[in-house]
Subunit: 305 residues, 2 copies
């Protein structure tokens, strides 16, 4: 098996200017802050990064920006999955050309009620068109957003057909039993929980770690889980309990607006609240409630951003 | 109110070559066949046209092809709704530049659980960025595919804010009561049922007609409903009964593969079966069953294609 990525990954936010263009300087600074504060890597252009609200050419600019900033290939996973195969292929090639062979790939997500044969055909078509042995695909399974289920059987089938290319999954189903089933079915597969809530059990089952929206702010408390697991020092359960408490508090608010609100408060920079429709910033009262919930848990973000 | 479109519209299929590029010559020929056989207009680049499986530049080529073929502005509605606002804006501008001011616009459909404020903001942002008084938007409400609900209240709000721009809806909810509620709430609005099954009740409630996937093959039987309604000759109910029977038979098969299969058989051209993943052609046994069901209803496609 070819997965080499491990640990705590943030599905990074995309800071934006007032005109809703990406603020790539702020984005790269945020990535570096995450990497300095507990994240093993950054997923660029995932759901939390509002990637599907950006055009392909805009997304290529984000890839170019992280490359120019010198973020290493083993610290970067690039979201590339679009509805249209030509778009997915273009983004994947651009990622590879920038030195980022690890990609996070949604299935084509417009159509629902699609067969496993259809989903398999979509991944196979992309792999064939990209035609690059350096490619490492992490299947992005997020049923709430895609309306599609990526079954364990389909992952096994994809990994069997493309053992050096389909090397992992980000499982954002919220169902830990599904994650553990994949860990068992495909030893060595890069199984990432889509939430730090299930980081420890997934690691214990042989999985790779987590890639999480809320890791944009929980990086340090999530890293404590991973470090305790690596050290095997008996602190894992307590660290997981803490990470889970913070995660569950945050996720009740919906990831993107609440993460951007938290970063705006943390950095003192209101520009963090910019986001593209259909996302809208938190209302003032909800933001105040979030601040109260964070204080009640004694949760603060690490260091100055 | 500014809706001027009426009658039976097909959400047209997109014929493809073996490499899955669009066969624009075959596409334009299909459009002309539809217009010659009962369709009042053609929706280019809807769900049935696999539009979201094509890149923005590919979709612009489709627009250019219908323009080059001389298809009239009042016979064409162009699908333009993407996940990313810049893509929707680019396609909308391209459509307008080609002389097609009537567009069918999905809301940004990746994110679920989105507020009405967020959906309103998305349409408002597109209208502002396009900045063209010739624009006529038909909101595309297809909850099964988008996972989003466009409520009557949201349509009223959009029409109130943009009375000359947001002029209609394609309601593919499958709920006739929703369609009738919109007809009542916004007199003169271009309310199109997403299925010929509800063509007559929507027309009788003051709606505009239907835009339907299955109209790719039911064009003539659907047109019979509209013509009977216009003539007010008492034949409407019987025509509707016939159209409904054919529609319900067809829709049980899933629109795209079954419509392409029917066209392949009708034209004798197996290239009609080409489609992009995640869509896959019908299995042979399902295709045989479809042919049997069509025969059992005595249903054939009109004329030679």
């Amino acid at each position: 098996m070819q997965n080499r990525l491990k640990g705590v990954w943030a599905a990074a936010l995309t800071p934006q200017k007032a005109d809703l263009s990406a603020d790539t300087a702020a984005m790269v600074a945020h990535h570096k802050w995450l990497l300095a504060n507990g994240c093993d890597g950054v997923a660029l252009g995932g759901t939390t990064g509002e990637a599907n609200s950006f055009s392909v050419s805009e997304r290529r600019e984000l890839i170019d920006a992280v490359q120019a900033a010198g973020i290493a290939g083993d610290q970067m996973m690039v979201g590339v999955g679009c509805c249209a195969i030509p778009d997915t292929v273009e983004l994947t090639k651009a990622s590879l050309a920038a030195g980022y062979g690890n990609v996070l790939m949604l299935p084509p997500f417009y159509y629902k009620g699609v067969s496993d044969d259809g989903l398999f055909a979509a991944y196979a078509e992309v792999i064939s068109r990209v035609g690059d042995e350096r490619l490492r695909i992490y299947v992005y399974d997020f049923p709430k957003m895609t309306g599609l289920e990526i079954s364990t059987e389909l992952l096994v089938r994809l990994n069997d057909a493309f053992p050096n290319t389909i090397v992992g999954v980000k499982d954002s189903s919220g169902r830990v039993e599904d994650m553990l089933a994949v860990c068992e079915a495909i030893p060595g597969f890069g199984t990432f929980a889509g939430t730090e809530q299930f980081l420890l059990p997934v690691l214990q089952a042989g999985g790779a770690g987590c890639i999480s929206a809320t890791a944009n702010v929980t990086c340090a408390v999530s890293a404590a889980v991973y470090q305790a697991y690596l050290a095997d020092n008996g602190d894992g359960e307590a660290a997981q309990e803490r990470a889970t408490a913070v995660r569950l508090m945050l996720q009740a608010y919906g990831a993107i607006p609440s993460m951007k609100e938290a970063m705006a408060v943390h950095t003192g920079n209101p520009a963090w609240r910019h986001m593209r429709p259909p996302m809208v910033p938190m209302a003032t009262d909800a933001a105040a409630k979030l601040a109260g919930d964070m204080a009640a848990l004694g949760f603060t973000l690490p260091l100055a951003a």
